[in-house]
């Protein structure tokens, strides 16, 4: 709760500041937006540590292999990073760059999922 309040305050304040300086200095406005995103993402990562602990507990309790969990977590990370990057590019008016970031994110997500896909295909091949 504390973290989301902090994130909201930082985000809203940063957004207002960015709006104020955008007309006079759009480059610094973009850098400010990037800085805000980095700070808020850093705060989120602290919360993510607790999620990781729960995942480890599930891994111990159920034998949930990291071979399944690791690609998923990487995919989620790639997805969120790509979303933030794409939105920053869009805010700066660089739609082509935003699309490139999204495509790169999708390809990277596919790349980290490849071991899972290979495992699944091998299993189905053995069944059929």
């Amino acid at each position: 709760m504390e973290i989301i309040l902090k994130a909201t305050i930082i985000g809203v304040t940063g957004a207002i500041l960015s709006l104020i300086i955008r007309k006079s200095n759009p480059e610094i406005s973009a850098v400010l937006a990037l800085a805000i995103c980095t700070v808020i993402t850093g705060m989120t990562l602290k919360v993510f540590t607790s999620v990781k602990e729960v995942l480890e507990l599930i891994e111990i309790g159920t034998g949930f292999s990291s071979a399944y969990a690791a690609p998923i977590m990487k995919c989620v990370g790639i997805g969120l990073t790509a979303r933030i990057g794409s939105d920053i590019c869009k805010d700066s008016g660089q739609n082509a760059a935003a699309s490139s970031v999204e495509i790169c994110g999708a390809v990277c997500a596919l790349y980290v999922s490849l071991p899972l896909i290979k495992t699944l295909l091998r299993m189905i091949g053995e069944l059929a």
Binding site: C75, A109, L127
Partner: protein
């Protein structure tokens, strides 16, 4: 739904057999408690069979070889059970019930672990995708989750597919020991023609079932799973009809096989049963009338021996049924529990993620149902065969 029907039918038959086992007369002892008008004649026959005769007949029919042929799984559950033990039915059922009680929690725990793994992935994915706008990245994260869920489910199906096939092979191997002894006992009890016909039919259909299971149904289950997963990842129902067709082929082939077997068994029983009755009556009258004075003594003696053989036949039958129950018990609980847990997980995940992933989990649960039906078909075949032999023409 069909698999549930098959499961319910098996449970009802097991309960009926439990009653049948309890109603069996104690070997070598007088059965004087039942005074039913229909069974009076049979009771009289049992009264005159001395215990030693029954033991000697059991030995002559090599009934002990059945105990040696008992599969490992059944031995673990039934323990040191004896065919000529009067309390075999009760002891066997108690042992099976105890095994059920002891193992159910462990099996449920394993199934629950799979459900937790699947739900964990679904929760992570739905949390992550909720923060993403529609686009290629979101699609890729969803695809990654679908593949992870599929990998967990397919690894479960893969291990249980092997278990299903092993159970069928075990049943087939045990039937090779049970059916000849059952056939000998039934023939000694007067079912000269029907015993061999039923033996041949069961052996043939068991072989057909194993061949169909190994070469047709098992690969089809694999292809079914692949089509279900591909259909979910494609995000449009291009392959929905293919998976429905594969499921239909599997269930229909099993249903047809069982239908053919039961029809053949029923027809054989009708035709050969009457022939056996005619032959036994003819033998009795020939013995009684051909030789004056001594003929009736010989006829009575033959009647006693046939009654004893009938008791052995029923005892072997109950032993066989208990063994089949014990062999099928663990696969049935395991597959049934996983089937139900996967269906439950599908219902839960529908609240957390999109309907397609939930449907995929449900369809993978159906694969467990198909394996369950396969094992059930093998067990039912032996059940029907043994019950049919036990119910064959009675005495002279």
């Amino acid at each position: 739904m069909k698999t549930i029907h098959i499961l319910v039918a098996i449970i009802i038959i097991t309960l009926l057999l439990a009653g049948y086992a309890r109603a069996e007369p104690e070997i070598g002892q007088a059965k004087t408690e039942i005074h039913n008008a229909d069974t009076d004649e049979t009771d009289e026959q049992y009264k005159v069979v001395p215990p030693k005769t029954v033991e000697e007949q059991a030995s002559a029919m090599d009934a002990d070889s059945l105990k040696k042929a008992l599969p490992y799984e059944a031995k673990q559950i039934l323990g040191d059970i004896s065919i000529i033990d009067s309390a075999m039915g009760n002891d066997g059922l108690s042992a099976i019930f105890n095994a059920l009680k002891e193992n159910f929690f462990g099996i449920f725990k394993n199934a629950f672990k799979s459900a937790v793994k699947i739900l964990t992935i679904i929760i992570i994915c739905s949390a992550a995708t909720s923060a993403m706008s529609d686009g290629p990245v979101r699609d890729m994260v969803t695809l990654s989750c679908t593949i992870a869920v599929s990998a967990i489910a397919v690894s479960d199906v893969s291990s249980f597919l092997g278990m299903g096939l092993r159970t069928l092979t075990t049943l087939s191997d045990f039937s090779k020991a049970l059916l000849p002894v059952m056939c000998t006992a039934a023939a000694s009890a007067g079912a000269f023609t029907s015993a061999s016909a039923k033996y041949a039919a069961t052996a043939l259909f068991m072989d057909i079932l194993i061949t169909v299971a190994t070469n047709v149904i098992m690969p089809l289950i694999g292809i079914y799973l692949a089509s279900v997963i591909a259909n979910t990842t494609l995000s449009k129902d291009y392959l929905a009809n293919v998976s429905k067709l594969l499921k239909w082929i599997c269930t229909t082939s099993l249903t047809l096989l069982m239908l053919a077997f039961t029809t053949y068994l029923g027809m054989t029983g009708l035709i050969t049963g009457k022939a056996d009755q005619f032959a036994t009556k003819l033998t009795k009258s020939a013995l009684g009338t051909a030789l004056p004075v001594v003929g009736s003594i010989l006829s009575d003696t033959a009647e006693t021996l046939v009654a004893g053989a009938g008791m052995i036949r029923n005892a072997i039958g109950i032993f066989g049924l208990l063994a089949v129950c014990a062999v099928c018990l663990m696969p049935f609980i395991t597959l049934g529990t996983h089937y139900l847990v996967y269906k439950g997980t599908s219902a839960l995940s529908e609240a957390l993620t999109d309907k397609r992933l939930a449907e995929m989990i449900s369809d993978i649960g159906t694969a467990f149902g198909m394996i369950l039906a396969l094992v059930g078909a093998g067990g039912m075949m032996l059940f029907f065969s043994v019950i049919s032999s036990m119910k064959a023409v009675n005495a002279i």
